[in-house]
Amino acid sequence: MAKRVLLGAAAVLLAIAAAYAAFFVAPEERTMGVLQRIFYFHVSCAWAGLTAFSVGFLGNLLYVWKRGEKYDWLGVSCAEVGVVFTTVVLISGPIWAKPAWGIYWTWDARLTSTFILWLLYISYLLLRTLIEEPDRRALLSALFGIFAFIDVPIVFGAIRWWRTQHPAPVIMGGPNSGLAPGMRGTFFFAVFAMHILMWFLIVERYSLEKMRNDVELLRQEAEAT
């Protein structure tokens, strides 16, 4: 319990520090000015979301292999946290795009693929609500999670190819726009901070799932007596 509080405190402190660095340590970008500072938040959330989904994928694989319920708890926790981070990405993107391009959505390759990613994992979470029996739910959602995750690189690749056929405004610079050296430190610190936050949220969600399971067992015991 103390470890969780410590992790939470670390996550909050690091997030504040990362925001400070994004505004006061990183140099101002030449063309976009202060607007570019959204980049540190937007991209670090995107990376953390993908990490969450990747860990969830491992949880799904482990569940199918070993059938331990803790892998199911890990899977759903990672999926939910991943969806949360992806939601932030999908909201911060358009907030950047409107002042930069005058429009909220440009069907930019990365944002569009992120939207599909978001839909896939929302479907994962919806699927879980539609299966009552816990073991069946764990197995079927783990299998769908596996299918969804292996689709992700194909989605990103196909949509990026599609966009090269029909060029359009790109959100936050094209794939080849590098980071100025002064920005790199801030950026990777932001990535680190977001990952600690991700880790904290996954731990909290996992504990909730474990508690739910314990309560269910207690409930069954109470009904039996």
Binding site: V64, I116, L119, L120, S123, L126, L127, L130, I131, E132, R136, L139, L140, L143, F144, I146, F147, A148, I150, D151, I154, V155, G157, A158, I159, W161, W162, Q165
Partner: protein, 224 residues
């Protein structure tokens, strides 16, 4: 080989069952027709612009039709618990999937072939000389839709709200198929037609990846 001969036998069963009543094929074809006609009301299908939008709408119609057509795939096995019988009959559960995927690919492919002249007439496009390319695209696209769709049909058959769940799970997953198939088809219907091999590549990659995934994990989809 046990796997292939089992799959072939099961495929025969699937095809015979369907051709006895032809209900799946006929309803699917009519559905695609309806969707294409309705889409045409949303813009003028005869101008050159429709060459850009037409193929995308056609593939969307195929995707919607498939997500409906794939519902009975495992649901019809639930009625008399024929799935248990199938599982006992074959040594490798992947044979069941192979058979269903082959059957679904065949039905989808037939639907698409039947729709092709209709589409050409409605949208005033010609495929002269591009037929091999179109057939390849239709085949690889149908295969991808069937592989993912059959796997997800096995999942949704065991959940509630399965009629809505299958499209919900399937359509985002099939985004690469939609994107790649549409791009290739658009290029084949352009005034100066050409073959987009990169798009074909994406379709092939999708098909291989998901077939492999189903081979690895299919038996768990059919677990009791």
């Amino acid at each position: 080989m046990g796997l292939l001969s089992n799959a072939a036998a099961l495929l025969g069963k699937e095809v015979r069952t369907e051709f006895r009543s032809r209900e799946l094929l006929s309803t699917t074809i009519v559905f695609v027709l309806i969707v294409v006609v309705l889409f045409s009301f949303t813009f003028d299908p005869t101008t050159n612009e429709s060459h850009r939008f037409g193929p995308g709408l056609l593939w969307l119609a195929f995707l919607f039709a498939a997500s409906l057509m794939l519902q009975p795939c495992f649901l019809r096995e639930q009625a008399n618990d024929t799935l248990s019988a199938l599982r006992l009959a074959v040594s490798d559960p992947f044979a069941i999937f192979l058979a269903k995927i082959a059957a679904n690919t065949l039905f989808l492919f037939m639907t698409e072939l039947l729709m092709l002249p209709v589409f050409a007439a409605f949208f005033n496009v010609s495929f002269r000389g591009q037929l091999p390319g179109i057939l390849l695209t239709f085949f690889l696209g149908s295969l991808g839709i069937s592989v993912a769709g059959t796997a997800l049909a096995a999942i949704s058959a065991q959940a509630r709200m399965r009629e809505l769940l299958l499209p919900l799970l399937l359509l985002p997953l099939l985004a690469p198929i939609l994107v790649a198939s549409t791009e290739v088809t658009v290029s084949l219907m352009a005034p100066e037609p050409f073959m987009q091999w990169k798009g074909i590549g994406f379709l092939a990659v999708f098909d291989v990846v998901f077939l492999t995934a189903l081979w690895l994990f299919g038996e768990y989809l059919l677990e009791e």
